[in-house]
Symmetry: C2
Subunit: 302 residues, 2 copies
């Protein structure tokens, strides 16, 4: 069976790293990830550079990539202004980012869920009309920093709305990483009534070490697409409440062990993890990068 | 439903830390763990101090503990000489440590599996005659550093032999941490034919980040006892092939989230994790200790 990995390190990961990465560094990271066999690599975000300086060069990133090739390079777009910029940069795929928590939506997007869905619908319609693919994110699907637990029915409602407006895939995010496998089962049981599992993705954060178990639970529920971040970019193991994405290499270890196909070369991903970690001057936030270590080639370079 | 945690940090954990811990430090750690509600705390090993200097003070540790109280303090005993020392120190429970891999047994114990089982049978008989409880470990149940994969039938054979000789519980160890949930299912399906799940424990290492998923799989197979190590003692996230036990606090987060009872206070375990990590001059190797952080009290002390 085939499992799709959506690599979010160059966007969701780097966006949450304090240390800036040069354009050349980003491009080498993305090139390495594509060479490993990853076919979906989130490459940037068209957001205010005042708020997210790490993504200020997203148009330059896209300009250097083969956007007509076999690898998808989605970019995050929060609103119509962002869409204009993404279209101008030649993006072929965008992602919109909603929340299952009313409070989180108001804190993060400055509007409630219903207003955000209206805004996303306008963005999505224009993007679809321009021939783009649109992916939808739902955050806080297993918990919210303001509200605590989130009702599965609420997640299902937001996911259904995103699908209804034309998102080809809905990525369900455990943004604070507090979820456990039983809650993944409950949440997905509710969401699957609205959106087929083939159109769902799991986006698990490893803040509490639950991500691999939650992915296993989602696989049991028929989800076969997972977001992950090379080297666990965006998380810090030594900061309180760090909420990094699960590391791509840890997910690959799980999937390989379970006999599932991804088309991705684990060794190349681990090498990419060490490459970007060296650039950031930190250690990979993953178990597998450390267990497998640097490749002899990489050591020779260092 | 009740799940039993066997805390192995003061033995299996500290035995694999380079930095020595004073007797007073060990005793405060054990006292904190007992205060958190843990009822099974592996407290030492009667092995050659030349090979394992970290355990040289195990008799002193036992002398300071209430061995007749409600908390069990098993100690590892490799042979009859070790049993003599354990009996002299007043131990009420011992553990013997076998392997499911012939090569690992020869490397680690200097004898093959069958010879090791004969030796354990003699030790176990004397211990039982003296009124002790005996726990059996089987290592390499999901993989061996020398042989690679291990047949589930081989694990079942060793587990059955340990039960036959009188071990009240058999702890199945993924010593190198390479296993994935599907292999946990396969292995336990074989072992359960020989030993009831109620007499089995899971002992998972988190070297590849799979431990929490593997525990979830073992729960699904009816296992309700798990070994873990506060702060992930014994492992190092930044060393190649580091093979630390899964952290007790990460296991507790999983079990609490799943609505399972342990009788253990998570906050007190996290405080113990920071306490021993400070003593060792390192960071906890767990996600939850970092996600929850130090308690305000501990910060004030620091």
């Amino acid at each position: 069976m085939q499992v799709k990995i959506v690599e979010v390190g160059p966007r969701d990961g780097l966006q949450n790293e304090k240390q800036p990465v040069t354009l050349a560094g980003k491009l080498e990271l993305i090139q390495r990830l594509a060479a490993s066999g990853l076919t979906h690599i989130e490459a940037g975000a068209f957001v205010s550079p005042r708020w997210v300086p790490q993504m200020a060069d997203s148009a330059d990133v896209l300009a250097a990539l083969d956007l007509a090739g076999p690898v998808h390079y989605p970019v995050l777009v929060p609103n119509e202004k962002g869409l204009d910029a993404a279209l101008a940069a030649g993006a072929r795929e965008i992602a919109v980012f909603g929340a299952a928590s009313e409070s989180f939506s108001r804190h993060n997007l400055n509007m409630g869920i219903n207003d955000s869905l209206s805004a996303f619908a306008a963005v999505t319609r224009r993007a679809l009309d321009a021939g783009l693919r649109v992916r939808g994110y739902v955050s806080c699907v297993l918990g919210c920093p303001y509200e605590g637990e989130i009702a599965p029915s609420q997640v299902a409602r937001v996911a259904a709305a995103l699908r209804e407006m034309g998102c080809y895939e809905i990525s369900l995010g455990d943004t604070i990483g507090t979820g456990t496998p039983n809650r993944v089962h409950e949440m997905l049981a509710a969401v699957r009534k609205q959106v087929p599992a083939t159109q769902l993705a799991g986006h698990f954060h490893d803040s509490y070490g639950m991500a691999i178990a939650n992915i296993t639970a989602a696989l049991q529920m028929g989800v076969h697409t997972f977001d992950s971040s090379v080297a666990g970019l965006g998380g810090c193991p030594y900061a309180r409440g760090a909420s990094g994405n699960v590391a791509t290499e840890d997910v690959l270890w799980l999937l390989q062990g379970m006999g599932l196909q991804t088309g991705v070369d684990l060794r190349q991903v681990v090498d990419a993890a060490w490459f970007i970690s060296d650039l950031l001057g930190k250690m990979p936030v993953s178990r597998v990068a450390h267990a497998l270590g640097r490749s002899p080639h990489a050591v020779a370079r260092g």
